[in-house]
């Protein structure tokens, strides 16, 4: 369980995020959406322990700011928006870095094969020997996800749920791989873990998220299930766009069709 109360973050004296209440439960995908600059990444960084914050963020009963990196690494793995690499590592070597904390949760003796299995999950079989820097942006993003998956291979460890923090995990992927990655997130949640992800695609959000947090100018504009949150009026207010929200014929999944920019 992740519970954030009244979280504010200041960067260089400027308040970027204020008064956020947030909750992510094991078994669920919690999506954070909002326009550029609304504070999504800053909030996720506070959640990841990268930035100091006011208020309280508790993961599995532990306050984030009081958790040492090595302990936090056992509770959650973080996929950043982009990763720059300093030296010519192979894909295999990058993915294996996910194991350095030593708490993958895989059975003894399985760790050696985890990179390969993680790469297969993200549809990069046969890429282990390639140099990371030679891959396309989308492939690099999936390599990083494979690394993140190795770190928290078992969604539950010692009876406690673990979490994936994903910052725009599908931003540079084609449609097929968007679905593959979101399915991985859903599977992780189904097996008892929790997922917190920033997304831009509202339709993907509607399809996969159990709970949506809409951020607007550093504050929370709305929170709830997709059908409760996604409405014409809220979206127009937050995104400055006219959109049509409908419901797919098969089931209760809403869809969002962009119409025009609000002048």
């Amino acid at each position: 369980m992740i519970e954030a109360r009244d979280v504010s973050v200041k960067l260089a004296g400027k308040r970027i995020v204020s008064g956020i209440a947030f909750e992510a439960r094991p078994g669920e995908i919690a999506a954070i959406v909002g326009p550029n600059g609304s504070g999504k990444t800053t909030f996720l960084k506070a959640l990841s322990g990268d930035l100091g914050y006011d208020g309280s963020i508790v993961i599995n009963g532990r306050e984030v700011s009081a958790t040492r990196p090595v302990e936090a690494a056992g509770m959650r793995a973080v996929l950043p928006q982009a990763t720059s690499l300093a030296f010519p590592f192979t894909v295999q070597e990058i993915v294996r870095l996910g194991l350095i904390g030593g708490r993958s949760g895989a059975l003894a003796g399985e760790n050696e094969r985890l990179p390969e299995r993680a790469l297969a999950k993200v549809d990069l079989e046969g890429f282990a020997g390639r140099f990371y820097q030679e891959l396309s942006g989308g492939e690099q993003q999936r390599v990083q996800l494979a690394r993140v998956l190795c770190q928290v291979w078992a969604p539950v460890l010692d009876g406690k749920p673990r979490y994936l923090f994903l910052d725009e995990p599908v931003s540079s992927l084609d449609v097929k791989h968007q679905l593959i990655i979101m399915d991985i997130a859903r599977d992780f949640a189904k097996r008892g873990g929790g997922v917190v992800t920033i997304l831009h695609d509202l339709n993907l959000t509607a399809m996969y998220a159990d709970r949506i947090f809409v951020m607007h100018r550093g504050s929370l504009a709305a929170a709830g299930t997709p059908s409760a949150v996604l409405s014409d009026s809220l979206i127009e207010k937050v995104f400055d766009c006219r959109m049509r929200v409908g419901v797919l014929p098969a089931g209760d999944v809403p869809f969002v069709l962009p119409q025009s920019v609000v002048m």
Binding site: G49, V70, L85, F87, P88
Partner: protein, 367 residues
């Protein structure tokens, strides 16, 4: 590209994951260790005395009885009291400089970081020159208190201060700008050298002779006493560095990601900076500025065994030691009976190599 299989213990083929270069790296480390021993033996026996490597080895393992000895008394002095300290000191300094280079590159996340290029050696030099020139006057309490440790310690402090300033200037929110790092290094080098110049201007004739020799970089002054003072510092730094290889690996993904993986990044940075300053300071104190070992060695190794610091650091130590012993052997034999300062040899070989790196990386590193 990479071997997909290696021979297992019983001759069975053990499947090895593609892209895993650790088997190759381990093999390279063994080969480099053998090479180091061979080069050290060669260096012990190369020169005016004609004792062979075999004789030297047999003598080394001969009994305490003088009658069993293989070497003449003269050869024993040449080998044990003149050449052996040079070989040992050369190995220590080469290892210290190469490992320091590799660690700095990991810390700055940049293959161009090198103690010599970014001013750490110049800062350490300033510390050392201060002790040589002011040791009898302004710094007298310091030198009296510390004795022979004063010089290496001052060099360490000089290197540490330079590294800290450099890191503060060049790194913002965990990202190091290459341009800022190199430019700050140039500024710090210039400043340290200017202050060194002032000190040299103040020096008397005897101090000047010490300084000139020291500045060119040479192992000619190697004695067991010097090894006794600077050696432990370098050894501690060398032994400590492999312990943060894992952390440096994680750091190559960026500071935030390293922290997410469970690395205490701030602590790692402080220890790495202290280790580099100690190792560079100690080697500058005993041998002056020897350039390019720190950038050439790790770069060559990354090309063959990859950037994994668990293997890169020990391999750098071995290759750095080997190259410096070799350079020293050349420096004392090429114009025998005179000597060429070793700094000239490493710069002659290292300079063009550095240019080659820049040419190769032109597309990648855009200043």
């Amino acid at each position: 590209m990479v071997d997909h299989s290696i021979a297992g213990p019983s001759g069975l083929m053990v499947r090895k994951a593609a892209g895993d270069r650790s088997a190759r790296a381990r093999l390279a480390i063994v080969l480099l260790a053998v090479l180091l021993v061979a080069v050290a033996l060669f260096s012990l026996t190369a020169g005016a005395s004609d004792a062979s490597a075999v004789d030297a080895l047999r003598d080394w393992f001969s009994g305490p009885d003088a009658a069993d000895r293989v070497l003449s008394a003269r050869d024993r002095i040449i080998i044990y009291d003149i050449r052996l300290p040079r070989v040992v000191l050369g190995a220590l300094i080469g290892a210290a400089l190469a490992v320091s280079g590799a660690v700095m590159q990991g810390l700055f996340r940049n293959p161009l970081a090198d103690p010599g290029i970014v001013g750490v050696s110049a800062g350490a030099g300033l510390g050392a020159v201060s002790v040589i020139v002011l040791g009898g006057t302004a710094l007298a309490p310091f030198t009296m208190l510390l004795g022979s440790m004063a010089l290496p310690l001052a060099a360490f402090v000089g290197g540490l201060v330079t590294t800290l300033i450099l890191y503060q200037v060049a790194t913002r929110q965990g990202r190091t700008s290459v341009a800022t790092m190199l430019l700050a290094g140039i500024a710090l080098s210039a400043l340290a050298m200017a202050l060194t110049g002032v000190l040299i201007y103040m020096a008397d004739d005897r101090q000047l002779r010490d300084l000139t020799f020291w500045q060119l970089g040479s192992l000619a002054g190697a004695t067991w006493t010097k090894i006794g003072t600077a050696g432990p510092v370098m050894l501690i730094a060398l032994v400590a560095m492999p312990f943060f290889a894992r952390g440096l690996n994680a750091l190559s993904l960026g500071e935030a990601t390293a922290s997410h993986l469970g690395i205490q990044v701030q602590k790692l940075k402080y220890i790495a900076i202290a280790g580099v300053s100690a190792a560079v300071g100690a080697s500058v104190a005993v041998s002056g500025g020897i350039g390019f070992v720190g950038i050439v060695v790790p770069h060559l190794l990354r090309l063959t065994i990859g950037p994994d610091n668990r293997y890169l650091l020990p391999a750098s130590a071995l290759l750095g030691a080997t190259l410096l012993i070799l350079a020293d052997t050349v420096s004392r034999t090429i114009v025998a009976p005179a000597e060429l300062p070793i700094g000239i040899i490493t710069a002659t070989v290292g300079g063009p190599f550095f240019l080659w790196i820049l040419l190769r990386k032109r597309g990648v590193i855009d200043l």
